[in-house]
């Protein structure tokens, strides 16, 4: 059998992607199939995680808040990195639980004074920038960043993106957008920041890769 589907030690979603690519893209070379299968795995796991979040948060009736938290967290994570679950099932389950909880909390806690006067925004900005300065980019075993230049670039980008998101939330807050959405976004980002720390790696039982710079 030709192609990527023959490779061992793959997760179910990777096997599914490889098998699908083997069937659909017969004319491509093995190397191209491998790349397409990886792309398909990334798409499938992302869609799967978001569907899990939509499903669970839908049961509680706070889907928009959970999605706000998930999207904010994802944008920061693209640059800051952070801990990952060992397999897709754990990933989807944890994502659904975490972001639904954030959404639920934001829905019920939006009237707290700390949110109304933007104190939380300031606190998140200061603590977040410090955490990113200390730990970003947080590597994962599956995709380590081996160049110091790339690492420092990712650190700067993560702090910039984080600052931009904070600014967006400040503008939204000043424009009287519902504070539950601001809170959901801030808590989503806080979750990503936490995921870059060694404590999160220990909690997920993953290897923390020390920075070499």
């Amino acid at each position: 059998m030709k192609g990527v589907a023959t490779m061992d030690n793959k997760t179910k979603v990777e096997k599914f992607s490889a098998a699908l690519v083997d069937k659909l893209f017969v004319d491509e070379t093995e190397e191209e199939q491998e790349i397409i299968a990886y792309g398909l795995t990334v798409v499938c796991t992302t869609i799967g995680s978001f569907l899990a979040i939509i499903f669970l948060s839908g049961l509680v009736g706070i889907t928009p808040l959970a999605i706000t938290a998930a999207v904010s967290a994802s944008i920061v994570k693209l640059f800051s990195g952070g801990v990952h679950a060992a397999n897709f099932r754990t990933c989807a389950t944890i994502s659904a639980i975490i972001f639904t909880t954030i959404g639920w909390f934001s829905y019920h806690a939006d009237s707290l004074i700390i949110i109304e006067n933007n104190l939380l925004l300031g606190l998140v900005f200061l603590s977040g920038t410090y955490i990113l300065y200390l730990y970003a980019p947080a590597d994962v075993e599956e995709k380590p960043l081996d160049s110091v230049k790339k690492k420092s670039k990712a650190k700067i980008h993560s702090i910039l993106i984080f600052s931009c998101l904070n600014l967006v939330f400040l503008i939204l807050s000043l424009n009287q957008v519902a504070s539950s959405y601001i809170l959901a976004g801030l808590l989503g980002m806080l979750w990503t920041l936490f995921s870059t720390t060694p404590v999160a790696y220990k909690l997920f039982n993953r290897q923390y890769i020390r920075r070499c710079d």
């Binding site: 491998e34 790349i35 792309g39 398909l40 994802s74 990952h84 060992a86 897709f88 995709k143 081996d146």
Partner: protein, 40 residues
């Protein structure tokens, strides 16, 4: 087929982009294939 080519192109682009950024959006990170490690 044209549709297949477009899908292949999009997925290849996703793979290249994803392998060069720090992390995927989801909490699960598939192993980067050897073919993509050549990019780095």
């Amino acid at each position: 087929m044209k549709g297949k080519k477009v899908i292949a192109k999009v997925l290849t682009k996703v793979a290249h982009k994803s392998s060069s950024c720090t992390s995927g959006i989801s909490l699960y990170e598939p192993k980067v294939p050897k073919a993509l490690k050549k990019d780095k």
